[in-house]
Amino acid sequence: MSTDNDEGTPRLGFFTDTSVCIGCKACEVACKEWNLVPEDGLDFTGMSFDNTGGLGADSWRHVAFVEQREPLGHQETGLGRKDTVDLGMPSFELPGASAAPEDRGEFRWLMSSDVCKHCTHAACVDVCPTGALFHTEFDTVVVQEDICNGCGYCIPACPYGVIDRREDDGRVWKCTLCYDRIGDGLEPACAKACPTDSIQFGDLDELRERAAQRLENLHEEGVSSARLYGDDPEDGVGGNGAFFLLLDEPEVYGLPPDPVVTTRDLPSMWRHAGVAAATMLAGVAATFLGGRR
């Protein structure tokens, strides 16, 4: 499928390869710095090293931290034998108190930098009543903050939970894929700052090829849980402009496993509403057919 738009500008996007993410959060910081995203609370979530929580009006990149008692690929730690001690993941129990001997030492840490998916069929753009949200010449999705009136419709329309309203401002905000930078041939701030190239920026077609190759290599090396997410132009949102290589099921990272753009069903919704409107008029008319009372 061609991803070129009318002007012939190639579609630009992100490939976030979570298998090399080290959870440094440089992407979060670089994004905030470049885009002047305000501070949104220095919170301690208490659940992991993730104190950002999720994407929102003031978090356009979010690094997820998932801790699992599973080996990564065919990693062999050398631990996990009966005479070894537990690694001591944070818990309220004595280290090793509840873990069966065969579980000890088996541990992997999944980290993933989440971002706006820049959907091909973007529900937020479809439902926006003011035209504030639009597809750019790079086929990215951007909010025009001088037009948004803060109706908040795009928020529940987004199947990924990306876009959100800034409380003291009233308007919605999200990743612009650094619209101001990519127009000048620069890569977005997060990709620029990523020390391991977990975040890769470029032509979407090229990124898809590179991702397919990377997936093949990982599978060959035994990381059988690796999979691509959002790369398929045939999926429910027509493919993402920002797609991922994940090491577990999407829902583990807080991503919807099979998102569908809600407006796919809108023609049917309008038809049902039309029939309901006609039925209502017929029903009201019928109430006048009886006697004089």
Binding site: V20, A26, G54, A64, H74, E76, A123, V127, P129, T130, G131, I147, C148, N149, G150, C151, G152, Y153, I155, P156, A157, P159, G161, V162, D164, G170, R171, V172, E187, K192, A193, C194, P195, G222, V223, S224, E249, E251, V252, Y253, P256, D258, P259, T262, T263, D265, L266, S268, M269, H272, A273, A277, T279, M280, G283, A285, T287, F288, G290, R292
Partner: protein
């Protein structure tokens, strides 16, 4: 830091680290490798063992406020159905029914629009709603419907009050009556055209639930405001709307699958149960008390309250289905697993 750059000739200077392999290949025996690859794929039938990110919701919190948007949905429906009743009353010579219904329509649509504007993050920019005409956005279409209907309802009410321009007033009454059906039903696609499971999955029923609920409310208002000699159609509308709403809301809950259970839980459950009780009591009162103005008015009030409860129940069910990732993840995971099983058998 990262020194790679995107140039017109492609990517330059990318670091080799992005090809780094995770884990140590070749350390594990072939047999161990096979055992580890065979991860269990079964999931429980009730969806209780789904995975999530620390139980956090997948979709973001709905920023709409329950009183504002619940009120917007309810008042819009009340206005539209009142206009339809007013048009019928005008046509069949029931001025004492037509008049209060016109006033109700104007008051309700004013309240509905005010609630919508109030709930904007930037209320001073509400006119941006009319900046584009966008069939893919039910809120855009709704704004245009309100922009067409509001003035008609206004003219119908003001001419009725002052007695000026009776012919224009009559035309406005008929026009607002026809458009009233759209005002009543467009709010269903508005809430259903979202990723909120309890709303989206009910899209086939929601416009019928909203329409019947609105007819019950408008009929109820007619029972309060019109003398028994002319309130026959309002009474029939009230009873028919109430019965239809109760049946349709129950059907919607049952047909939408897993997210339907949010209509039974928490605040949503309380509002839906209250709506059902008020609707049943109101309908019974409207039938049995048809000779008494007082009983009729009380029944009408119950139906109006019941209709408002239905909208609040629907609103809260949506919020509850957003807050629990189960309702987003489990249906999607089942769909995906079924598709993958289908692929395997081919």
């Amino acid at each position: 830091m990262n020194t790679s750059d995107v140039t017109e000739q492609g990517i330059r200077g990318q670091r080799p680290d992005r090809e780094a392999m995770t884990g140590a290949a070749g350390v594990v025996s072939e047999q161990q490798r096979r055992e580890r690859d065979a991860r269990p794929g079964e999931r429980s039938a009730d969806g209780s063992d789904f995975a999530s990110y620390y139980g956090k919701p997948v979709i973001n919190r709905i920023v709409w406020e329950a009183p504002a948007i619940g009120g917007y949905l309810f008042l819009g429906g009340l206005a539209g159905a009142s206009s339809a009743l007013a048009a019928g009353a005008e046509l069949t010579g029931r001025p004492d029914l037509a008049r209060p219904m016109r006033y109700t329509a104007l008051a309700a649509i004013s309240g509905s629009t005010a609630a919508l504007v109030y709930d904007l993050g930037r209320p001073e920019r509400f006119l941006n709603m009319l900046r584009v005409f966008k069939p893919s956005s039910p809120m855009s279409m709704g704004s245009w419907i309100l922009a067409g209907y509001g003035p008609l309802a206004g003219v119908a009410a003001v001419t009725s009050l002052t007695g000026w321009f009776p012919r224009i007033g009559r035309l406005a009454t008929y026009g607002s009556g026809a458009m009233g059906a759209l005002v009543t039903t467009y709010t269903a696609p508005l809430v259903c055209d979202t990723a909120v499971p309890a709303w989206h999955e009910g899209y086939r029923y929601m416009p019928f639930v909203f329409a019947s609920s609105a007819v019950a409310a408008a009929g109820g208002t007619g029972l309060i405001a019109a003398p028994t000699a002319q309130s026959g159609p309002a009474r029939r509308a009230a009873v028919g709307g109430a019965l239809a709403e109760t049946a349709l809301a129950t059907a919607m809950e049952h047909r939408m699958g897993l997210p339907g259970e949010t209509y039974k839980q928490g605040r949503a459950g309380a509002f839906m149960r209250a709506a059902q009780t008020l609707m049943s009591a109101g309908a019974a009162g409207a039938v049995l008390g048809r000779r008494s103005r007082v009983v009729s008015a009380l029944s009408g009030a119950a139906l109006v309250a019941g209709s408002a409860c239905t909208r609040l129940g629907v609103f809260h069910a949506g919020v509850q289905s957003q807050e629990d990732p189960k309702y987003t993840v489990v249906p999607q995971r089942r769909r995906l697993d079924a598709r993958e099983r289908g692929k395997d058998t081919q």
